[in-house]
Amino acid sequence: MRNKVKQQSPQERVKNFNEVSLGFSDEQALLEAKRCIQCKNPLCVKGCPVNVDIPAFIKLIKEGKRKESLAKLKEKNNLPAICGRVCPQEDQCEKECILNKKGMPINIGALERYAADHEVDEPLNRAAEAKQHPEGVKIAVVGSGPAGLTCAADLAKIGHSVTLYESLHIPGGVLSYGIPEFRLPKKIVAGEVEYIKSLGVKVQPDSLVGRAPTVDELFHQGVKAVFVATGAGLPQFLGIPGENLNCIYSANEFLTRINLMKAYRFPEYNTPINIGKRVAVIGGGNVALDCARCAMRLGKDVILVYRRTEAQMPARKEEIENAKEEGFKFSMLTQPVKFSGDDKGFVKGVECIQMKLGEPDASGRRRPVPIEGSNFIIEAETVVVAVGQSPNPLLPASTRGLETTAHGTIKVDENFATSLKGVFAGGDITTGADTVISAMGAGKKAALEIDKYVRSLK
C-alpha cells in the first residue's frame, strides 16, 4: 500500500495558517522507501523536469542515510524542500512510476520532502559552508523565483560570480508572495534561499532591473551574461463592468497582502486587508484555490466561481481534494458578467451567467458557452479575481532590442538566448504562467547554456 502523509484535520486547519501536510515520520518514510523496486531503467527520472536520480535518493532513505539522500537530491535539484511540497508529482515522476500501473505509485513527493526537511531540522553551519567566487565570471540573474534561484545556484556551483536581483524586499518570487504559508511555509523558502547564498550567490533585494539598474548598466558594470527570470507577474482581470470596485482584488494583491506582508496577522503586521463576510473567488487553478483557502482561514464564507467543470480545473487534484474537505462552496459552469456595488464604491455582488459545455477549444477542453437568460447574482462583499497571470512587461518594455511575442513573453531560441547578445531568459517570462518545477527545469538548462556562452567569450 502507498503510504499517505498525515495532515492536519480539515476542522483544525481551516482555523490556522500552519502547514496542512505534516510530512512523513521516520517509520513511514522507511516503509515507503522499501516499496521502491529500484527499476534498472527508472521511468520516474524521465518524468522529472530536472531528472533527479529518484531511485538513488530513495535507496539512501531506505538505508537510513537521510543526509546523503538530501545530497543526492541536491545534485540535480537545488530546492528539494520546495519541490517536495508544490510539484505536481501526479503528472510527473509518480505518473511514470511503474507501480502506478496498479494505481499505487511511490509517494516520491513526500519522500523528497522528508529528505529535504532533514536540513530544516538540523541546519548546517551555513557560514562555514559559504563559498565566494571572486575570480568567476560576473553573471546577473534577474528575478528570484524558482527559475532564477535554480539558475543562480547552478552557475555558482560551476564557479561563476552570480548576483541575484529581486524587486521585492524578500527573495523567492512567487514562492514568497504567492504560495500560502499552509502549503509552503516561508521558513522553508528562506532556508532554500540561505542554501543558495551558501553556494556564493549574492542576493540583492529591492532592485528593479529594467529601471534601476537597466540591463545595459549591468553590462557596463562588467556583467558578461544576464538571465531574465522575471516570471508571470501581471494580473489578468476579467474586463467586465465594475471591476475597480473596492474589495475586488487581483489574486496577486490578495496573496501578496496575506503571504508576503502577513496581513493575516494584522495589526501586529501593519499591512491591512479588507475582507467581508462572503468571498467569491473567480478561477479554477491552483492560485484560485490558494486564495479561497486563505479566505477560509480568515473565517469567511467562500464560494469558488469557475466557468468550466471540476474535471477541467487546472488545479492539482490533491489541492482540490484538500479544498473540498475544508468546506467551501463551488459554483461551476458560472461566468461573471458584471460586478455591482454600493454608493460608497464597495462590491456587493457578482452577476453571473450559467454556462454549458460545448465543442472542444484550442486547449482540448470543451468550451463553456453561456445559456441565454440564465443570469443570477452571487452576493459577496469581497471578490478575488484569479483568472491567470501574464508575463511581467516591465523589463522587456524598458530593454531596447529585447524581442517579445504577441503574448508578451520574451522570445528565446532552444538555448534560452534572447534577441540580445548575452541576455538569456527562462521560466514563466518565456512560457507564460506554468509550474514551479518547469521554471526550475528551465533555470537549470539555461545555466548550462549561459556557462557555455561565457566560456566562448574567453
Binding site: 473596492n246 487581483s250 494583491e253 501593519n270
Partner: protein, 253 residues
C-alpha cells in the same frame, strides 16, 4: 543608486521595519553627488509616524526606486504648477524640471493653514512667480488653489495664450479634480499625479488601478502622471477609502 537615477515625478517604496507596510513616497529632492534623497511626508499612518520618529543616523530596512515614469517636461511656453498640502513636496521638483526645460513657471501652493504650508522659499526660488493661498487665510491669500489658478489664467499675460499654457497639479483628489474640471472648460492641457493605494508598486498587484480615458491603468507603472481631463476622480476617491476602518484601528492602538 536612487539619487543617481531620480527624476521629477518619480517615487520610492519603502519598508521601515520587518512588520511594516510597503508605502510609496514621492522623491522631493536628490543629490547625485552625495547619493542622498529627500522625502517629505505627513505623519498620518503607521509607517509615516515611525519615519517621523527616526533619529539622525536611524535607518530604513528596505527602499526601492526610483519608480514610475518621470514627468514629461518638454518646453512648451508657460507652465502653471499647482501644489496642495503635502503635494507641494512633489510639485517642487516638477517645477524645477519645467524651469530647466526652458519654460516660464508660475507656481501656486496652498494649504489648510499657515502651519501646514511647506517649501514656500524653495518654490519661490524655483518658479518665476509664486502665489500662496491658505483655506483659512492665516497666510497668503485666503482661498483655494483653484481661486489662485483662475486669477493666473485670467491675467493679462495668459488670457489670450491658453493654448501655450500647461497646468500640472498634485494634491488631494478633490483639488486635482477641481483643477482639472476648471482647465477642461478653458481647454488647457493638464497633468495630474495620482496617489492611489499601492503594494508592490512594480505592476504586479493592481491595487493602484485607476480608470483613465475609460481604460484601467496601473498608476505605479503606467503613471503616476496622467491627463487630468481623462481621470475618473470619483473612482479614485472611493478606492482611497478601502482601508479606512483598518487605518482607524491602527490609529487607536
Amino acid at each position: 543608486m536612487i539619487a543617481g537615477k531620480a527624476n521629477a515625478g518619480q517615487f520610492v517604496v519603502l519598508v521601515i521595519d520587518e512588520k511594516a507596510e510597503r508605502i510609496p513616497l514621492t522623491l522631493s529632492d536628490w543629490n547625485k553627488d552625495t547619493g542622498s534623497i529627500t522625502l517629505i511626508f505627513q505623519a498620518v499612518g503607521q509607517t509615516t509616524r515611525k519615519l517621523s520618529q527616526l533619529k539622525k543616523g536611524g535607518s530604513i530596512l528596505h527602499i526601492l526606486g526610483p519608480l514610475g515614469h518621470p514627468t514629461a517636461a518638454e518646453s512648451t511656453g508657460t507652465v502653471v504648477t499647482v501644489g496642495g498640502g503635502v503635494g507641494i513636496a512633489e510639485v517642487w521638483p516638477v517645477s524645477r524640471r519645467f524651469k530647466e526645460a526652458g519654460n516660464k513657471v508660475i507656481g501656486i501652493i496652498g494649504a489648510r493653514s499657515k502651519d501646514l504650508l511647506i517649501l514656500e522659499q524653495e518654490m519661490r526660488a524655483s518658479c518665476d512667480e509664486l502665489y500662496v493661498v491658505t483655506d483659512d487665510g492665516s497666510y497668503g491669500e485666503k482661498g483655494f488653489v483653484t481661486d489662485a489658478l483662475k486669477k493666473v489664467l485670467d491675467s493679462e499675460a495668459l488670457r489670450n495664450i491658453h493654448s501655450q499654457v500647461r497646468v500640472y497639479a498634485i494634491g488631494p483628489v478633490p483639488m486635482m479634480k477641481a483643477v482639472s474640471e476648471f482647465t477642461r472648460l478653458l481647454k488647457i492641457r493638464t497633468t495630474v499625479s495620482l496617489n492611489p493605494i499601492m503594494v508592490d508598486a512594480t505592476g504586479m498587484c493592481g491595487a493602484c488601478r485607476c480608470t483613465v480615458a475609460g481604460k484601467t491603468k496601473f498608476a505605479c507603472v503606467d503613471g503616476p502622471d496622467f491627463d487630468g481631463h481623462e481621470v475618473d476622480f470619483a473612482e479614485l476617491s472611493k478606492r482611497l477609502t478601502l482601508f479606512k476602518e483598518q487605518e482607524q484601528e491602527c490609529a487607536t492602538k
